[in-house]
């Protein structure tokens, strides 16, 4: 096969995904959209009735909503890691994952951004959180980590969207070539007049490199800021200096797992085996193993610090975390995040895509549970023993959580049919 044929084949294979949708696809989309509509309905119910429809209480003022927020922000992270950091490190296997991973980043951030709004007692006053000029001279409190959050997440969303879009420009031009009528005009517009001249490529590469360099620190900073929502407080179990690296590692860990969860079925359904190989999966499994080890180390350090501190509040918190009301959650977390990923030391398992898929599901669950354990068990047992209490989520919270997956998959499924699922030009480059 000559070079030209190969290139044509890539185009054909990747763009094959953008054919008319089948029944299976429509069913999946319908399910996801229904879940999302459920979220909207339940949220409306919560707004009109009050936050009391959740299971939140005293002393646990944050529960599943904030867990979801951290979870989805975490998911978002590996997209940037794969596309930007690995780009800078010239890791070639990145090419197979970067488009779905970037899409995942954008959608996960959209979902994540919803949760701070959902958890507000007065959602309709959400704009108070932004520093806008008012004649009453009201300003936000820049000492509050929640304000840092507003900036971190909105910056991250902006950069991710731009990065995602810039990476798509040459591919838009290719799609334009294959489309007719209105679609052609839309893709043509989106491709910003891309013609693939040398000069365009030169500028494009410079911009891409710049954006990659710009996005890379965000990988560390955004989730550090998210972790400071907790670390800046004085709650035992939250107030600790290791939170930033611990959360960043956790975010990459969970994000990588989510990439595997998404890409394995995508590869199968869209028959992309040629482009996403077992070698590539092995590389990503190594990232998973590496971050799992960091996360496990953090768990040990947390307990070590508590034991070493001599601080009765801290010590009781970690005893409670392991053996108290949420002990089942805690051991799910340890099993899914620390024990099961250890199997990836075995090479044959790293290369077993089906195994990786199952494992990634466990990690997704484990990482969600990790956030739940950190948030809820710390609040449930802080300083004043009189005020201790236990929280369990209500059906509204469960519904909204499922609905957030609905929103994510709705967006992801639409992505599959409207945008090239792999970066055609990059694959061509590496041929």
């Amino acid at each position: 096969m000559d070079k030209h044929d190969k290139l044509a084949r890539v185009e054909q294979d990747v763009l094959a995904a953008m054919k008319r949708p089948g029944i299976g696809y429509l069913a999946a989309l319908g399910c996801s959209a229904t879940l999302f509509l459920t979220l909207l309905g339940l949220w409306g119910y919560q707004i009109t009735t009050g936050m009391g429809v959740s299971g939140l209480m005293n002393p646990v003022g944050w529960g599943v909503y904030i867990t979801n927020f951290v979870f989805w922000v975490g998911i978002a992270h590996s997209g940037t890691l794969i596309s930007a950091v690995l780009f800078l490190f010239r890791a070639r296997f990145r090419t197979s994952f970067n488009r779905p991973a970037e899409a995942m980043t954008v959608f996960a951030l959209l979902v994540a951004g919803l949760f701070p709004l959902i958890h507000l007692g007065r959602t309709w006053k959400f704009y108070y959180l932004f520093p806008y000029p008012t004649q009453r001279m009201l300003w936000v409190n820049f000492r509050s980590p929640l304000i840092w959050d507003v900036f971190a997440v909105s910056t991250y969303l902006t950069v991710s969207v731009v990065f995602f879009y810039v990476g798509l420009i040459p591919d838009f031009a290719i799609v334009r070539r294959h489309k007719e009528g209105l679609a052609k005009r839309i893709y043509g517009f989106l491709s910003l007049g891309w013609t693939g001249t040398r000069r365009q490529w030169k500028n494009y590469n410079q911009l891409y490199l710049f954006l990659a360099a710009f996005a890379t620190p965000l990988v560390a900073s955004v989730h550090s800021v998210v972790s400071w929502d907790f670390a800046m407080s004085i709650i035992p179990g939250w107030h600790t200096t290791i939170f930033a690296p611990y959360f960043v590692a956790g975010a990459i860990f969970s994000g990588t797992a989510m990439v595997i969860t998404l890409v394995v079925p995508m590869r199968k359904i869209l028959a992309l085996d040629r482009y996403i190989t077992d070698d590539h999966f092995e590389s990503i499994a190594k990232i998973l193993l590496f971050t799992s080890l960091i996360v496990s180390y953090s768990y040990i350090v947390e307990f070590g610090l508590a034991a070493y501190s001599g601080n009765p509040f801290e010590m009781e918190q970690f005893r409670y975390r392991a053996l108290g009301d949420y002990t089942v959650m805690f051991w799910i977390m340890i099993s899914c995040n620390s024990l099961i990923p250890l199997t990836l030391f075995v090479r044959s398992l790293r290369r077993n895509v089906k195994y990786l898929f199952v494992l990634s599901l466990f990690v997704n669950v484990g990482m969600w549970v990790e956030r739940f354990v950190i948030i809820v068990s710390s609040l449930a047992r802080d300083f004043d023993p009189y005020a201790w209490g236990t929280y369990s989520p209500s059906f509204v919270e469960v519904g909204i959580t499922l609905g957030s997956f609905g929103l994510f998959f709705t967006a992801y499924l639409i992505f599959l049919k409207t945008l090239p699922v792999l970066s055609i030009t990059e694959i061509m480059e590496h041929l």
Binding site: V140, S233, D384
Partner: protein
């Protein structure tokens, strides 16, 4: 030239038009809805926005505490204890605070109701009601039936009027019915001193107080009065207070030393003390001979074996009482409500006599006016008369015998045999649901009246608003009935009747002073009593019998929150948890930790308690530290008609159910226990005395400038040696700050809204300390820095204020608060009409999604500052205080400006006893707690 409308003209016209529209729309079409409707306009006129105060008397329990009613725009919104009042001197208990919710209670009955033959009730007019009563009275007399009048304890002019009414209309007045009739104490006093009444105890003059079962902090005769006196006594060097009881009560929890006695063995213990006094006491020479002879000789070991009190403790108490200069013994409560109760009360009397407590500490001159209160047996007699069909009209005024009497007595069934039962009351309680005719009673804030809770002390009741419903005061009812039947020259209304009576009693000027002050203290001649030695000796002989209950035993304890059950209906009282168990809604069975462990009982587990007589009740378990094994406790109002027996000699109730058996139902009950842990887990919220002086220093390095306070820095000092957990402050806080009552469902979820709570912490020995926890107004507040929108902000006076309008509800502040004193509004809270009338207009009712918290009653600070500003000065020390501090019966809470070195709070905060909770966190709170074990007031150093 075209005439053009000038801008100024336009404005003028618009002004005229809109002004006149406004004026014309003022007379609303919905009839006269007066916003400000005073019955007695204050002399200085009504100023919207300014509170006025009117004296009155609390009618929630028989103690008769003086209150000062806070009125805003014609509506009473809060009750405060009336300072200087001879009964309560400024303090007001949890029930008193809550009694305003009785006035605005949504379930109050608004008009007379008559039950027809088929059992249905319908509204009738007062005329019809009166004519029904009058006709039935006449008809009964004609048919030879007796007409009877039964009421709860009644004193003052109303008692006189009832007597007059009964005399004129031919109704027999029955002894009054009170669950806590103190019949054993009265009987003993009658036998030994010839005074069949409860004396006034002058605790403040004693240097050693021994209470035997008497729950002086909860319900015993006059709790606020006793509490106040105790505080005064505690401020004296060397005062000690020991409490002996078979179970665990709030009173016992607060004594310097609590001694657990085997049930019914108190008399043995007291005889031992007497013997010791006879042999070693300072007056051993003056002992009446009969008594010396009657006293049993029992070795310490035998007494210890019988009472379950260790020999060392017995010896210690005996030495203390023998060496005290002015010891006082008070017996009562559950310790006299058993078959040997008369002996216990009698032995206490003898000790009072031989220690010289009579008449200085045990004052029969100012006795507590309980002589007209009958006994349990009187009620059995009444039931028998009802059953015999010999009763015509039966008046039941302010009493609920259907609820309080045992099922076996059969009062409910026999009540139907009366020709006409007439209930006089406010809420549809158990008795009122059974009566034929219901006459709705005005609240004490709606009617004129007086009470005489203590001989010679008359306290005023004065209406502060028109009746909310079509109700009458009891006096007016009786007078109108009199008019109907006798038609002779009685006064036209109860007000005139009272004014007449007061003029006769106090004179013209005395009456004016009475009306202004709200109380009158008549001088009374001294009263000498002497001990009847023979009778004492015979009682003491009985004391050694040592009756034993069939074990295990269930003690029915009086309830701090509901008294004998009469205050059950008030929503606020269920919302505020019982301080010992922290249970808010529902009934429970307290089980000792040993018994629970032995029987495998867990907290919240549902059990069936049954007695040998076949009675049983399902209750959830509360494991109660400090409770002796084999003793179960339930509140007296834990169920309708508990199986109680009558004590044969005194006619009193035996508040014990013997030989109870406990069976598991296998279910868990949904009961809100608000405390997350009965122990403080070694966290030093109330520091161990050993560690008290270890100050934790916390360097504060901050990037931000320190807060600067120019004129005020508000602070509070809470004396834990005085705080007894009575929760009056909590009730005051709810009412002052419009805190919503959220109900059981939210309590089960941990969503109570109290800004101030009482945290009980149990030690290993079962001792308990109470910690009132409210916003600590930290100087370096964790809540403030985390709020993204500055809703939690530090004001220039050192308060952590919460700007409700700015709050978006992230709940971060609450998460970050180490004291967990912030409350989130989970729903839109509603005040069922007319409870909304009680809302304090000084601050808003918060909407859903907003965090709220204690602000040291910022509205009061605001008012005081405004007043000070009128005088071009700053707020003086003592000019402003918080609702909790104002209500506190012990005076444990002090509020003031920490920048003023002259202020009391400054002195207390700088005293050696001051500490702050979780000082090591560096939050720098403005609430100072004064530690000091309750048992050692001698070591106190006041600054």
């Amino acid at each position: 030239m075209k005439r053009r409308l000038k801008r100024r003209d336009f404005l003028r016209i618009m002004g005229g038009v809109s002004g006149s529209t406004l004026v014309s729309s003022c007379g609303s079409g919905n009839g006269p809805k007066k916003f400000i409707s005073y019955i007695l306009p204050p002399e200085e006129g009504i100023l919207p926005g300014e509170a006025t105060f009117s004296p009155s008397t609390c009618a929630e329990c028989p103690a008769g505490c003086g209150v000062s009613v806070k009125i805003r725009e014609g509506w009473p919104i809060k009750l405060e204890g009336s300072p200087g009042h001879p009964v309560n001197d400024g303090g007001l208990c949890i029930r008193g605070q809550s009694s305003i919710t009785r006035l605005y209670h949504p379930k109050r009955i608004g008009s007379p109701m008559l039950r027809n033959g088929s059992g249905k009730v319908r509204r009738i007019s007062w005329e019809k009601a009166f004519s029904t009563v009058s006709e039935t009275l006449d008809a009964s007399r004609a048919s030879g039936r007796t007409n009877l009048f039964l009421s709860g304890r009644t004193t003052g002019s109303l008692s006189g009027l009832i007597g007059m009414f009964c005399g004129k209309v031919g109704v027999k007045r029955l002894p009054e019915f009170e669950v806590y009739s103190h019949s054993e104490g009265k009987e003993a006093n009658g036998l030994l001193f010839g005074e069949r009444d409860v004396p006034r105890y002058r605790i403040e003059n004693a240097d050693f107080l021994l209470t035997v079962g008497a729950d002086i902090l909860e319900t015993h005769v006059s709790p606020v009065s006793y509490t106040r006196q105790l505080s005064r006594a505690k401020s004296k060097e060397g005062f000690r207070w020991y409490h002996v009881e078979p179970h665990l009560s709030l009173t016992g929890a607060n004594a310097d030393r609590r001694i657990v006695v085997r049930p019914w063995q108190e008399a043995v213990f007291l005889s031992f003390l007497l013997r010791h006094l006879m042999e070693k006491g300072p007056r051993r020479g003056e002992f009446p001979r009969e008594i010396s002879e009657a006293l049993p000789r029992m070795s310490v070991e035998r007494v210890s074996e019988a009472t379950g009190i260790p020999a060392g403790t017995l010896q210690e108490v005996a030495d203390r009482i023998a060496h005290a200069r002015r010891p006082l013994v008070i017996a009562g409560g559950v310790s006299t409500a058993h078959p040997g109760g008369l002996e216990v009360a009698g032995a206490a009397c003898v000790i009072q006599w031989v220690t010289g407590a009579v008449p200085d500490l045990v004052d029969f001159r100012r006795r507590e006016n309980y002589e007209s209160v009958g006994t349990f047996r009187d009620m059995e007699d009444l039931t028998a008369r009802l059953g015999g069909g010999e009763v015509g009209v039966l008046f039941l005024s302010r009493t609920n015998p259907v609820f309080s009497l045992p099922e076996e007595v059969g009062f409910r069934e026999n009540l139907k045999k009366a020709k006409l039962s007439v209930g006089i009351g406010d809420l549809p309680d158990e008795t009122m649901q059974e009566v034929d005719l219901f006459l709705p009673l005005s609240h004490s804030l709606e009617s004129w009246g007086d009470v005489e809770p203590r001989r010679g002390i008359v306290s005023l009741q004065k209406p502060v608003l028109k009746t909310l419903h079509d109700t009458l005061s009891e006096g007016d009812m009786l007078l109108r009935l009199l008019h109907g039947s006798a038609g002779e020259g009685t006064a036209s209304g109860y007000r005139d009747f009272l004014f007449d009576a007061w003029r006769k009693r106090f004179g013209e000027s005395g009456r004016s002073a009475f009306l202004e002050q709200g109380y009158f203290e008549e001088p009374l001649p001294a009263k000498r009593v002497s001990l009847d030695g023979k009778k004492a000796a015979s009682l003491l002989k009985g004391a050694q019998a040592g009756m034993k209950p069939g074990e295990p035993v269930l003690v029915l304890a009086p309830s701090l929150r509901t008294f004998d059950g009469r205050s059950r209906g008030l929503p606020l009282l269920s919302e505020i948890p019982d301080p010992l168990t922290t249970i808010s809604y529902g009934r429970w069975l307290s089980v000792s930790p040993e018994t629970a462990a032995g029987a495998g009982l867990k907290e919240r587990q549902e059990v069936t308690v049954s007695s040998s007589s076949g009675w049983s009740q399902v209750l959830p378990v509360k494991v109660q530290p400090g409770l002796p094994a084999g003793v179960f406790v339930a509140c007296r109002d834990f169920g309708e008609s508990p199986p109680l027996r009558t004590e044969k000699r005194t006619g009193g109730t035996i508040e014990y159910i013997e030989k109870v058996t406990i069976g598991k139902t296998g279910k868990m009950a949904a009961i809100p226990i608000l405390s997350g842990s009965p122990s403080q887990q070694g966290r030093g919220l109330i520091p161990d005395p050993v560690h008290r002086d270890e100050k934790q220093h916390h360097g504060r390095e901050s990037l931000y400038p320190e807060h600067v306070h120019k004129e005020y820095r508000w602070a509070m000092a809470i004396d834990l040696a005085l705080c007894n957990g009575c929760s009056a402050c909590v009730a005051a806080c709810y009412i002052e700050n419009n805190i919503p009552v959220v109900g059981k469902k939210d309590h089960l979820k941990g969503r109570e809204m109290s800004w101030l709570r009482i945290e009980p912490f149990y030690g290993e020995a079962g001792n308990v300390d109470f910690l009132p926890m409210l916003c600590q107004q930290c100087h370096s507040a964790p809540c403030e820095t985390v709020c993204p929108v500055y809703a939690a902000y530090h004001n220039p006076e050192g308060l952590n204020v919460q700007v409700y309008n700015r709050c978006v509800g992230t709940r971060y502040c609450s998460n970050n608060c180490p004291y967990k004193v912030r409350r989130f509004n989970w729903f839109w809270h509603r005040w069922e009409k007319p409870l909304n009338r009680m809302l304090n207009p000084e601050l808003q009712a918060r909407g859903a999604g907003v965090m709220e918290k204690c602000t040291f009653c910022i509205q009061r600070i605001r008012a005081a500052k405004d007043k000070a500003k009128d005088g071009s000065r700053t707020v003086r020390s003592g000019e402003v205080t918080t609702a909790c501090a104002e209500s506190c019966p012990t005076g444990a809470i002090t509020f003031g400006n920490l920048l003023d070195p002259e202020s009391r709070v400054y002195r207390l905060a700088h005293s050696g006893r001051a500490y702050r909770v979780f000082e090591g966190l560096g939050t720098d709170p403005s609430v100072y707690y004064l530690s000091g074990e309750k048992g050692d007031p001698g070591k106190k150093s006041h600054g």
